[in-house]
């Protein structure tokens, strides 16, 4: 029967125009079963398994540990063993060389059903003595089809080719530093590390970032916050996500990125928080945090961290993050300089709470090509104010409780200068009564 499945490099995230093949699970020519994982791609965020769609024989057109452009055909599954012979392995296309578009076989040749003729087509054919069998393989035949057959030159349209999409190449790679095997042991960079370098290098390598810091007074801050939290008691992350997501709506430049010649503002505010517990550094998205309550944000944090640990993250949990928060508070740091992620313009770092000084440092690194210190400082100040507003204030409760049972006037409001009289209310309870209610107006 022939070709059963063509595996192309999938487009998993807008930014990943090429993916790495990290695993090839069979050798070319092997038999595969429907549902077998035949290969694994790695995106900038996660991995992606490809399954065989049916039983057959696999032919690989790629090699492990190489990058391939999206849409490149990297494997095929055939029904017969012989068909997989002589696989022409693709030269990996790296850094934006567009792969040739995959041309699907023209369908015109596969119609095996009845051919229908329009009335006008039939008339023309009768007139010109054209046999219907000439149109075998067509579904419909109009007068124009008949005329095209009789005068092939007429009406032929040049197919409209789509221009190949090309992308500006990345900056030339720097030469690697020498590594003398006598003096050093060279370890291979993991793909995760490579990605990390690309991600953080994108912005930091220009050197145009700057970091500003502020203190948040934390004395009494958790009295209120903990009321909204179920599990993450004494943690600032949920409330910082909550407040900064709301605040970012007013700071579009911090929810944006530098495209190279313009500033792209995200339409949504989707902050992410960085996580690194044994499974590599990842940033997880709290989608539309600006519309979530603190308990909902806490729930999201827990859900995402769970998925991170179980390796069940969705690509959607990792993409389109518009602002990043990195929380090193559990590491006891006093302050640090966070690095801005690719396609972000800023990142907020949370340091540990200093138990003695009752405060904690917030650090904001921002891309100077997008915004500047004044605005970043304003943002940080406003965030600080918002966070500090959670601190419990001891409202003085001096005269509270002394209220005229009749007119509900409080002792603080009394003008008589005589004060209230203690009394027994008609319900038999202890109470107070003011002078005017006692005597009438």
């Amino acid at each position: 029967m022939g070709l059963l499945q063509e595996i192309q490099v999938p487009l998993l995230a807008v930014n990943d125009t090429s993916l790495t093949v990290v695993e090839i699970n069979f050798t070319s020519g092997s038999q595969v079963k429907k549902g077998d994982i035949v290969m694994v791609f790695e995106t900038s965020k996660t991995t992606y398994d490809v399954e065989a769609a049916s039983d057959g024989y696999i032919q690989y057109l790629c090699e492990a540990d190489h990058d391939y452009e999206v849409n490149t055909v990297v494997a095929r599954v055939y029904s017969e063993a012989g068909e997989t012979a002589a696989p022409p392995v693709h030269r990996p296309a790296i850094n934006g060389v567009a792969a040739a578009p995959v041309v699907k076989a023209g369908p015109a040749s596969v119609w095996e059903g009845e051919t229908l003729f329009s009335r006008e087509a039939t008339r023309l054919m009768t007139e010109a003595g054209v046999a219907p069998s000439l149109f075998t393989g067509r579904d419909f035949v109009t007068a124009k089809d008949v005329r095209d057959l009789l005068q092939p030159a007429s009406g032929i349209q040049a197919p409209k080719g789509e221009p190949a999409v090309t992308r500006a190449g990345n900056a030339p790679n720097r030469l690697p530093l020498p590594a003398d095997p006598q003096k050093v042991i060279v370890g291979k960079l993991s793909s995760a590390k490579k990605r990390e370098i690309e991600y953080l290098g994108d912005i930091q390598s220009t050197g145009l970032t700057s970091t500003i810091n502020t203190f948040v007074e934390t004395n009494g801050i958790f009295t209120h916050i903990n009321r909204s939290l179920k599990h993450l008691k004494d943690a600032l992350l949920p409330v910082i996500l909550y407040e900064s997501a709301r605040l970012l709506a007013d700071y579009p430049l911090l929810n944006a990125y530098f495209t190279g010649d313009a500033i792209a503002h995200y339409k949504e505010v989707n902050p992410g928080f960085a996580i690194d517990i044994d499974k590599g550094l990842k940033v997880l998205k709290i989608a539309r945090a600006g519309q979530l309550t603190i308990p909902a944000i806490e729930e999201e944090i827990l859900r995402l961290s769970g998925s991170y640990l179980d390796d069940t993250l969705d690509i959607d949990d990792l993409t389109d993050i518009t602002f990043t928060i990195t929380d090193l508070s559990s590491e006891g740091v006093a302050f640090f300089r966070p690095l801005v992620n690719k396609m972000n313009s800023s990142i907020l770092g949370i340091s540990a709470i200093d138990a003695r000084l009752q405060r904690c440092t917030l650090s904001l690194t921002f891309d100077h090509r997008v915004t500047e210190g004044k605005l970043a400082a304003q943002f940080l100040k406003e965030l600080k104010d918002r966070l500090e507003s959670y601190r419990a204030v001891d409202t003085q409760a001096a005269l509270r409780g002394v209220t005229c049972f009749k007119c509900l006037k409080t002792l603080g409001e009394d003008l008589s200068g005589v004060g209230f009289a203690r009394c027994i209310t008609p319900e038999g309870k202890d109470g107070y009564i003011c002078q005017s209610c006692l005597k009438g107006f």
Partner: protein, 648 residues
């Protein structure tokens, strides 16, 4: 005089004073040009707000009208949000979008359409009754609103269905400029009594007594789960809105003398002064602070969204059941199991089950969730809106599409606007279903397709069913919607089975959008004519594609949208730019119709000229007599003739 009366609670004086202060502040700000739009102040009427709005529980709710500031403050206590709202600031209770007449906070709602809020309030109250949560509600109307029909439709229903709603009619003897005697016939309380509704009466000039009577009325409504109508005699001391006062100054002065707060000022100047200073200080400093604030940025109010039609196609599934059976099955399943589900409409009780039997047996399955309404399209739609605001998923049936006009205010001024005018604090996921279309000889008022009047309503989706897709699938998507949806069913489609006729030489497929688009295209050839048809016309056009090919010498591609308020312009444009020919068939008349909109949108994005044509109903009421009805509505032979004439 005050001194002859017994003791008055100072708390309510302070509350009334605060309301008065805020109202006077608004007038002051208005005269300084700091306030945009309009205000209707309640100076003189404050105690009505304090007595009713002020004595409700937190879980209760209020619907109010244009003169709502006092009600708002007494119920929510949110003076700051109100001030900021009228000053047009982002921190206002509705971000400055709603302003004076459109407030929403916790369970408080106001709207500027006289009478329109009454059925919505009834629906909200019905929701509480279904939830058995013991909450009740108050709806405020003015005496001028006694002229509105929706009020009486609703009074009939709340009495019959024992809905715990307290209607408070604030009788200030004027409607805008018009004294009551010019417009009001008969007696006010007799109106409510005629519906069997308990009534009450009080005056703002005796606040203690009014407080007491209000509490009694509230207790009655809550305790008995029954409606009540309370008439408050009062007088507004300021103009209707700003400077528009033609009343006799002597009359106004005489009422000002009787005004309780004025009397209190004269008799207890020291207390008055102290309380006044507190509210003055509170309100003035709030205003100073608020004046410096930002207004809502346009992006936070509206952001353009691109609509992309899905381009992954799945074969159409033939279903050997009639459309009406599938509709009925969907509703049966939902009504039996779904806690949010409510079904309302005229004659929907079983065994009758609605004029077209969509509701068959629903009321047997769950009688408490199926409401047969009186003939009252405005009220039943408004009640559905209120249920939707209260967390339910109401499906309202309007017996014939032509009657949608009677529900129009509830769709356009209520369901459509709530979400945005309340600055996205609420959603109103109401569904209004109705059959449209002719070919059954029902004549001018029972046959028309009025979809073009519905598709342009902001934030309301309009869906047209067809015989190519499982209606249950579409209704599941409708069920999932968070905003209002109007569904147009087609009378002649009810009896047809789904995707029955599938010709070999065509491919029948649909995309995976929530409201799928159906496409029927030649099996292998490139099409030469793009046809768009929807609703009842889709069935007719799908059934004549072979004829179009044979006789008009065109290979047609038929595109059938089901969501007609957001047409698949990109898809149609892509097809039409390839074929160069675009025909739109609709059952309503053509001027300013769906075809006009679609063709305009397509030609905006197709760079070269395409040939276009609309086939529509003739612009006359649909005749009953069969021969004429077939001429007025588009039929196969007219469609064919138009194709032959327009697309050579």
């Amino acid at each position: 005089m005050l001194s002859s009366k017994s003791i008055i609670n100072h708390r309510i004086i302070k509350e009334a004073l605060r309301i008065r202060k805020v109202e006077e502040k608004f007038l002051e700000l208005f005269s300084q040009g700091k306030l945009n739009g309009t205000v209707h102040t309640c100076v003189g009427q404050e105690f009505s707000a304090v007595a009713f709005a002020g004595q409700l529980k937190k879980m209760d709710f209020i619907f109010s009208n244009h003169r709502c500031h006092g009600h708002y403050m007494a119920f929510t206590g949110d003076v700051r949000g109100l001030l900021a709202e009228l000053l047009g600031k982002a921190s206002g209770t509705c971000g400055g979008i709603g302003s004076s007449q459109h407030l929403c906070h916790n369970n408080f709602f106001s709207n500027g359409i006289q009478g329109g809020i009454v059925p919505v309030a009834a629906g909200y109250a019905l929701g509480n009754k279904l939830k058995k949560n013991g909450a009740i509600g108050v709806v405020f109307i003015g005496d001028g609103t006694l002229g509105e029909g929706a009020l009486y439709e609703t009074m009939n229903i709340i009495s019959r269905w024992e809905i715990p709603l307290l209607i408070v009619c604030e009788n200030n003897f004027y409607a805008q400029s018009t004294p009551q005697h010019i417009n009001l016939a008969g007696d006010i309380l007799s109106r409510a009594k005629a519906f069997g509704i308990r009534t009450g009466q009080g005056e703002t000039s005796s606040p203690e007594e009014l407080m007491h009577k209000a509490q009694q009325a509230i207790d009655y409504v809550r305790g008995e789960t029954k409606p009540c109508f309370f008439l408050v005699e009062t007088y507004r001391l300021n103009a209707h809105s700003k400077g528009d006062d033609d009343r006799d100054p002597a009359e106004v002065a005489s009422y000002a003398e009787k005004d309780f707060l004025n009397i209190f000022r004269n008799e207890s100047p020291a207390y008055y002064q102290m309380y006044k200073e507190v509210v003055d200080q509170e309100v003035d400093s709030l205003v100073e602070e608020i004046l410096l604030e930002e207004e809502l940025s346009p992006e936070r109010y509206h952001q353009h969204e691109e609509h992309h039609t899905g381009n992954a196609w799945t074969p159409l599934e033939t279903i050997n059941k009639r459309q009406v059976e599938l509709l009925n099955a969907f509703f049966k399943e939902k009504i039996a199991a779904d806690e949010k589900m409510v079904f309302l409409g005229e004659d929907v009780l079983s065994p009758y089950g609605g004029a077209f039997k969509v509701a068959k047996e629903l009321s047997f399955l769950r009688p408490e969730r199926v409401f047969s309404t009186p003939i009252s399209e405005a009220a039943l739609t408004g009640i559905s809106n209120g249920l939707a605001l209260n967390g339910f998923k109401p499906f309202a049936e309007i017996m014939f599409g032509d009657f949608m006009t009677l529900a129009f205010d509830q769709i356009v001024n209520h369901a459509s606007k709530f979400h945005h005018m309340f600055n996205k604090k609420v959603n109103c996921p109401v569904v209004i279903r109705t059959p449209m279309g002719g070919r059954r000889g029902y004549g001018p008022t029972h046959s028309q397709t009025l979809d073009k009047f519905l598709v342009g309503i902001d934030n309301v989706k309009t869906v047209a069913l067809n015989t190519l897709l499982d209606p249950g699938r579409i209704y599941q998507s409708i069920y999932n919607e968070q905003h209002p949806v109007v569904v147009i069913e087609n009378k002649t489609d009810y009896g047809k089975k789904i995707a029955q006729q599938q010709l070999k030489n065509f491919v029948y497929e649909h995309n995976e959008d929530p409201f799928p688009v159906v496409r029927i295209r030649p099996a292998v050839s490139a099409p030469t004519l793009t046809i768009v048809a929807y609703g009842g016309m889709a069935d007719m056009v799908a059934g004549m594609l072979e004829q179009v090919f044979a006789e008009a010498d065109h290979k047609p591609e038929l595109i059938v949208p089901s969501l007609i308020s957001h047409l698949p312009v990109d898809l149609v444009a892509a097809s039409a730019s390839r074929t160069g020919n675009l025909l739109v068939v609709e059952e309503g008349s053509g001027f300013a119709g769906i075809g006009s909109e679609l063709i305009a949108a397509v030609t905006e994005i197709v760079p070269h000229k395409i040939h276009t044509r609309r086939v529509t109903a003739l612009p006359v009421p649909i005749p009953s007599v069969k021969s004429l009805e077939n001429i007025v509505l588009p039929d196969k032979s007219r469609i064919l003739d138009e194709i032959k004439a327009s697309f050579q």
